[in-house]
């Protein structure tokens, strides 16, 4: 990643331990200098986001199917707050049904990633997301219509 730009704060919220592991390994292998914070459920994530000391993250990777507080609930809650207006939310889910894609996008998600079944695809996806996200930030692209489904 471009070191001349300030590093990105990245959050991951997923209840599945294996998937959290894959994600961390992928980030490590991509050798990007980014700050990754990992949460195991929706409430933990929301507590962190609402905490006053929290630095506004740039990207949130959010699983949909989580016990207690689902990803969709988190998504809706986050989008209610103006201060998270510029936070890019990437849904990171096992399902890729059109209904899920439509529902999450309509509720304010920017990126929809179906959890891949190949590690290299995961790396590719993360790289693509970070890259395109950076591009959207630097090149003044219209965030209103920024959707990406991988």
């Amino acid at each position: 990643m471009d070191t001349t730009h300030s590093q990105m704060n990245i959050l991951l919220c997923d209840d599945d331990a294996d998937d959290r592991l894959f994600f961390k390994e992928a980030m490590t292998e991509l050798k990007v200098q980014n700050d990754l914070k990992v949460f195991e459920n929706g409430s933990e994530l929301m507590d962190y986001l609402h905490h006053p000391d929290t630095l506004l993250p740039h990207i949130l990777f959010l699983d949909i199917n989580m016990p207690c507080k689902s990803g969709l609930e988190c998504l809706k809650e986050i989008r209610e707050h103006a201060k998270f207006k510029n936070l890019v939310i990437a849904i990171y889910s096992t399902s890729n049904s059109e209904e899920d894609i439509e529902e999450t996008f309509t509720n304010g998600a920017n990126i929809f990633i179906k959890k891949p079944s190949d590690f290299s695809l995961l790396k590719k996806a993360i790289h693509h997301v970070l890259n395109i996200n950076w591009q959207y930030h630097t090149d003044g692209l219209n965030k209103e219509t920024f959707f990406l489904s991988l």
Binding site: S95, P116, S117, F119, L122
Partner: protein
């Protein structure tokens, strides 16, 4: 027409009766006045006759008197008893005649004239005796003549009057005779008409009676067939009547015995009785229609479910009557119960299917995905470089198997999705669907350099995502089973349909759209055509064409869901044609 004729007949009868009654009234009035006139005329005739007798009597008196006077004079008996015609006596005569004054003013004049002439006569007679006037005899004679003439005139007048009234009397008598006859005649007519009318009414009544009897019989049969019984409570006469089938519903012979309301109520199941009795009693307060559900518990322990409706009416005597119908719904209840049980079973099966679907789509796919992720980790971490050839082969096989399993599960999810089938049909524009599919498949199309042509297609009614799935599967199939080295050419066409026969059923263009999907791929032998749409049936194709055997089964299911048909015709190494028949959109439905 018949009704109109009858109507006319009856109306005419009524009009005739009316006219008759009116004319008889008129005739009776006439008759009365005629009788009155007759009485009057008779009275007058008597009066005139009496007057005439009086006058004639007077004439004879004068005759006698004048004769006596003349005789005396001739005998020179000049010491006469001066017998004068007594004026008073004459006046009495004339007074009697004066009674006629009321009806005839002429008589008065004549009476006065007679009086005057009598007076002159008396004077002339006196002179005859007292005076030796030369012409005294002449004067006397002339007065006698004048008086006689006047009296004679008077008499003639009276006689003429008598004649006139006699004539009138005769005429009136004739009229009265006629009137009497007419009255009798018209009375007869009225009598006959009334009789005819009565007869007519009686006939109608008999007919209605027949119909009522017939209907009663029909109702009785209907009650038996449909399993209901009727009842009637007369509140004034305190009578309770139940129909034949009501007896049967209580396991009794029709009209076996009489019942009171309370006795029938005793048949009601003890658990229901109190409530029914209460509602029944309450209904009499507000006179409202009742609908009650309850059970009869028959002596032999059989339970019958009833729905009973009661309604208040007034009969022709104005008595309050509650009539009602009890229907035996025991059979219906049993069937409903069975249906409910079946439905509950179906619901649970459906929800099981649903959860099964969730299991495949999420719970089963998850571990598989993990397996595949770990496979890719092993691949990337160069573990295999140091592994033996057998290990690598086995590893490749694991990889292939897991990939195949994933395809299977994806298709299976699609298949179960068509099973539960959201039955919400909406308008689906096939043109729109096809353009979306072309967008969707653009990548593959581009990659294989395929050409897809699509006709102008209709709008149908169906489930959107299923219709989309149907065409995606058919076109993907055409893109998948292509001949190596040949650019795929796929055509979606709307064909004109007169009538085709599929599975012995005739499909007509009035009901169905016929859409064909033609490709120039590897095709298949026609003998396999029927197996194409069977779940997990795969045709013997080369290894490179990897399918799960679910795609076309899904298509079949979707078409079935839409009450349509799908057929396939294959030409080995040339291509194939899939034909889909979809129901035309019902107009205004």
């Amino acid at each position: 027409m018949k009704f109109l004729k009858k109507f006319n007949h009856l109306t005419m009868l009524k009009i005739a009766l009316g006219i008759s009654i009116f004319s008889i009234g008129y005739l009776i009035t006439m008759f009365y006045f005629q009788m009155d006139d007759l009485k009057e005329y008779k009275h007058r005739i008597v009066m005139y006759n009496t007057a005439n007798v009086n006058i004639l009597h007077l004439e004879s008196e004068i005759e006698r008197d004048s004769y006596f006077a003349q005789t005396q004079v001739l005998n020179f008996n000049l010491s006469p008893q001066k017998t004068n015609l007594d004026v008073n006596y004459i006046n009495t005569f004339l007074e009697k005649n004066n009674l006629l004054n009321d009806i005839d003013a002429e008589v008065l004049d004549r009476n006065a004239r007679i009086k005057e002439l009598v007076h002159e006569y008396n004077n002339a007679k006196n002179q005859l005796f007292t005076n030796s006037h030369t012409n005294r005899a002449g004067v006397f004679n002339s007065s006698v003549i004048a008086l006689n003439r006047s009296i004679s005139n008077y008499s003639t007048y009276l006689e003429s009057q008598i004649r006139i009234y006699n004539d009138n009397y005769d005429i009136r008598i004739d009229n009265a005779k006629t009137s009497g006859f007419l009255i009798a005649l018209i009375s007869l007519v009225i009598f006959i008409l009334s009789y005819v009318k009565m007869n007519e009414d009686l006939y109608e009544l008999r007919k209605i009676n027949d119909e009522i009897l017939f209907m009663n019989e029909t109702l009785s049969n209907a009650e038996m067939v449909a399993g209901f019984g009727s009842w009637k409570i007369n509140t004034v006469q305190n009578k309770f009547i139940i129909s034949d089938n009501f007896y049967r519903m209580l396991n009794l012979e029709p009209r076996e015995r009489e019942f009171t309301v309370e006795e029938v109520m005793n048949y009601i199941h003890p658990e229901d009785r109190e409530a029914v009795v209460k509602l029944h009693k309450e209904s009499f307060l507000n006179k409202e229609t009742t609908t009650l559900w309850y059970r009869y518990l028959l002596p032999d322990g059989v339970i019958r479910h009833m729905v009973s409706t009661g309604k208040f009416l007034n009969n022709s005597k104005g008595e309050l009557v509650k009539i009602g119908v009890n229907q035996d719904i025991s059979e219906l209840m049993t069937k409903t119960k069975e249906l409910e049980e079946n439905n509950a079973k179906l619901v649970s099966i459906n929800s099981e299917l649903e959860s099964f679907n969730n299991i495949i789509s999420h719970d089963l796919q998850e571990p598989l995905r993990k397996i595949q992720m770990f496979i890719s980790r092993i691949e990337s971490k160069e573990f295999l470089e140091s592994a033996s050839e057998t290990t690598v082969t086995y590893f490749e096989k694991i990889k292939a198997a897991s990939a195949r399993m994933q395809n299977l599960m994806t298709d299976l999810v699609e298949y179960t999705r068509t099973l539960k089938a959201g039955r919400v049909f909406e308008e689906v524009d096939l043109n729109f669907i096809l353009s979306e599919i072309q967008e969707e498949l653009a990548f593959t199309t581009e990659e294989k350099n395929a050409k897809i042509t699509v006709d102008q297609l209709p709008i149908i009614s169906g489930t959107r995502f299923q219709i989309q799935q149907l065409f995606i599967n058919l076109i993907s199939n055409a893109l998948k089973y292509v001949k190596i080295g040949v650019e795929p050419n796929i055509a979606v066409k709307l064909e004109t349909l007169d009538s085709d026969v599929i599975n012995d059923k005739t499909i007509t263009g009035a009901e169905y759209h016929k859409i064909t999907i033609t490709d120039n791929g590897i095709g298949f032998e026609q003998k396999y055509a029927d197996q194409l749409f069977i779940l997990f049936k795969r045709l013997p194709t080369e290894e490179i064409y990897k399918g799960t055997g679910l795609g076309l089964a899904i298509c079949k299911k979707i078409v079935d869901n839409h009450k349509g048909f799908i057929t396939a015709v294959g030409f080995p190494n040339k291509g194939c044609v899939f034909t889909v028949y979809l129901l035309k959109k019902e107009k205004d439905a």
